[in-house]
């Protein structure tokens, strides 16, 4: 535990990145990204394809070095020094086709410093535990794509890492296996393991993550708790009235829009009471009214869209 200036204990950080930059042949793939991932958290990196998620993860893991900025992983500046405490499942899965399933798991463990004999023993155990006991002695080339993916996932965890990094872990999995993976991620976090994963499917992040980083165009316009991201946009009001027109309409905010029989608009800063008063006094006839907190999807669209708009403005200014 660390403590801040006020003496309040802070959760130690599994990952700390400040202003990391990566350029490829004049193209800036990651542009000054800041991330802080508390230990034991489930942390999501959200962004569309090509946003810089994979490059960011690769820099954090030491596969490539940043051109600028600093990164610390489990307290180490060089991620390979703490490689034995990290598990990584890349987006493009890969195993040696001629290896047997348990050998593949043991090999992935050996790469992280787990003795081969121990890796073999655990590999067999893990396969049995996850209902793949029949595949222990099968070669990877004899397994289906989904099964091979599970074997690689088990190989990522065989050395009991403190930090697990998954790059688009849900891609290529059917709904049942997606559910299993979500459970596994929750179990890992419950045991104190920090889990970071990238995804472009917000629903997974919304269900699993304590904190998220939204990445777009190589920049991170938001990084923090999911609740804070959702609070970035005001709650949404959904209102159904018997009357369609009346003086009460003047009390509606500017962004109000009618979809079907429902009015949709952001909750005004003054709250719902003045609007309610106007509706009642104007005899609008309230049929239904709900105030919903924004979802992560709405937050993502608002935040990533805003960042894209800012980036465009910057580009225009630079051209001038």
């Amino acid at each position: 535990m660390r403590s801040n200036a006020g003496g309040v204990a802070e959760t130690p950080l599994a990952i700390e990145a400040r202003g990391i930059v990566k350029r490829f042949d004049g193209f800036t793939a990651v542009d000054g990204v800041d991330l802080t991932v508390p230990e034991g958290a489930i942390y999501g990196i959200l962004g569309p394809n090509g946003a810089g998620k994979t490059t960011t993860l690769r820099m954090l893991l030491g596969i490539i070095d940043p051109d600028a900025g600093i990164r610390r992983v489990l307290g180490h500046d060089r991620p390979h020094e703490i490689s034995h405490a990290i598990g990584y499942l890349p987006e493009e899965r890969g195993l040696y086709p001629a290896m047997k399933a348990y050998e593949a798991i043991a090999f992935l463990g050996a790469l992280r410093g787990l003795p081969l004999a121990e890796g073999r023993r655990r590999g067999k155990e893990l396969l049995e535990e996850h209902g793949l006991g029949y595949a222990i002695d099968r070669q990877i080339r004899q397994l289906s794509k989904g099964m091979a993916q599970q074997v690689q996932l088990l190989g990522t965890l065989v050395h009991e890492p403190r930090l697990v990094v998954f790059d688009e872990p849900f891609s290529g999995l059917d709904a049942i296996n997606q559910g299993k993976l979500e459970k596994m991620i929750r179990r890992l976090a419950a045991n104190g393991t920090t889990v970071i994963f990238s995804t472009h499917v917000i629903a997974h992040a919304e269900r699993l993550c304590d904190e998220v980083a939204i990445i777009a165009g190589g920049k991170v316009p938001f990084a923090g708790p999911v609740n804070v991201a959702r609070d970035r946009i005001p709650p949404q009001v959904r209102l159904e009235t018997r009357e369609r027109e009346g003086r009460w309409r003047a009390a509606f905010p500017a962004d109000a829009r009618l979809e079907g029989s429902f009015w949709h608009f952001s909750l005004p800063e003054t709250g719902i009471e003045p609007l309610l008063r106007a509706l009642i006094e104007g005899e609008a006839g309230i049929l239904s009214l709900s105030i919903e907190r924004a979802g992560l999807h709405d937050a993502f669209v608002a935040i990533a869209g805003e960042a894209a708009a800012k980036a465009l403005e910057l580009e225009k200014e630079e051209q001038r």
Binding site: G26, A29, I64, A98
Partner: protein
């Protein structure tokens, strides 16, 4: 049990162990063992060219030791006949004239390492005595008789009989030529072995690319360790292969009743020469293999890796011919160039071991080669980190041609 941090060497061992076992039990290892059949083919084809190189470089000369007047007459006759007979007349080397009351021992001149003598002519133009190896004196008997007749002023009317004196052992020239054959054979063997192995390393990398496991490796351990592991795995595989070939070769030789004593002993002696052979083979392979890995790792597709193998094969051929050429010019800038250029250095030094007994140049050369291996591995790993993992599946990094990626500034 939690896992512990691996050192670079331990990490390299994990890679080497996997690769070694995988290759040893693969079909490609069987083809590797059958590989020597290919050198037999090439050896037969290259033999003709090699023999030509060997004879065109440093043709043997005829030493002459007679009275000053006879030597002058022989020299005059030689000059007169040389234009007409061309290459059939050996070049004359004037040794110390024999004064009255003195004698000349041809064996001493033939044993002189600084001279390139095939035979020595003594006596007089009327009664010439030709001393040398059987092969050489029989070949030169005719031209010597012609020169002697001309020197006597008899022209084509009376050819004096040449007394032939065959020396029992090999002349210095025979020895030098034998050593050159040893050096040439060793170079050829080294070249074929390294070519085969470097090709296998490249195939191994193709497999990694195809399996997309390279990112898993790069995330877990430093790329230097990945490269080192791959190189040493292949080296270990090749040692197994060499042992198999060696045992087979020796068995065949024993059955056929042949022995090494039939070959000219290399300058450093057979045991050291074998040791140097293994060491220079390892260095040659590590140098070329690390270069293959460095370049091959830049390719993003299997097809690109395969495309790269052609120019690199040409480079290997160039290196081999450069080293072969340098072998025939010992002590020249070309030989030193071949020794200094990392890729040809092991070939040039092995040839030197066959021809020169000095050992200290080998220590220097090995240190230089080891340094180059380290630099190439480090450079390859750096290139890999900087240029290979450019984007995920949806990355927007502009796609650049293979050549631009290979040659662009790091």
């Amino acid at each position: 049990m939690r896992s512990g941090r691996l050192s670079t060497l331990q990490a390299a061992f994990v890679i080497a162990r996997r690769d070694f076992v995988a290759i040893l039990f693969s079909r490609s290892f069987l083809f590797f063992l059958l590989g020597p059949l290919f050198p037999v083919f090439v050896g037969v084809l290259a033999g003709g060219i090699g023999a030509k190189v060997q004879t065109s470089v440093q043709p043997p000369e005829l030493g002459i030791a007679m009275s000053p007047a006879d030597m002058q007459a022989m020299s005059w006759a030689y000059d007169k006949l040389e234009a007409r007979l061309g290459k059939d007349v050996p070049k004359l080397v004037m040794l110390t004239p024999v004064l009255p009351g003195q004698a000349h021992d041809p064996r001493t001149s033939l044993g002189n390492r600084r001279l390139n003598l095939g035979a020595v002519l003594t006596g007089s133009p009327s009664a010439p005595v030709l001393t040398g190896s059987n092969e050489q004196i029989n070949r030169w008997q005719g031209p010597v008789s012609l020169i002697a007749a001309e020197a006597k002023g008899l022209g084509q009317r009376d050819y004096p009989a040449v007394t032939l004196a065959a020396v029992g052992g090999k002349t210095q020239l025979d020895h030098a030529r034998g050593q050159m054959i040893t050096a040439q054979s060793a170079q050829l063997l080294l070249f074929l072995l390294t070519m085969m192995l470097a090709g296998m390393v490249l195939s191994n990398l193709v497999e990694e690319k195809g399996n997309k496991i390279i990112e898993v490796l790069a995330a877990a351990i430093p790329m230097d360790a990945v490269f080192l592991g791959k190189l040493f795995a292949m080296l270990a595989v090749s040692m197994v292969g060499i042992t198999v070939w060696g045992v087979t070769g020796v068995s065949i030789a024993l059955v056929a009743g042949r022995s090494l004593s039939e070959l000219t002993s290399p300058a450093v002696g057979w045991p050291l020469f074998f040791a140097f052979g293994v060491i220079y083979f390892a260095m040659g392979y590590l140098l070329l293999g690390s270069l293959f890995l460095a370049i091959g790792s830049l390719a993003t597709t299997v097809r690109e890796v395969q495309t790269l193998s052609m120019p690199v094969t040409f480079l290997q051929l160039f290196v081999f011919f450069f080293a072969s050429f340098a072998m025939a010019l010992p002590g020249t800038a070309i030989e030193y160039g071949a020794i200094a250029f990392p890729l040809s250095s092991p070939f040039a030094m092995l040839a030197r071991a066959a021809q020169d007994p000095a050992l200290w140049p080998h220590a220097l050369a090995l240190a230089w080669q080891a340094l180059c291996v380290g630099l190439i591995i480090k450079g390859g790993a750096t290139l890999f980190r900087k240029r290979v993992m450019q984007s995920g599946s949806g990355g927007h990094a502009p796609r650049r041609s293979l050549l631009r990626r290979v040659f662009s500034r790091v």
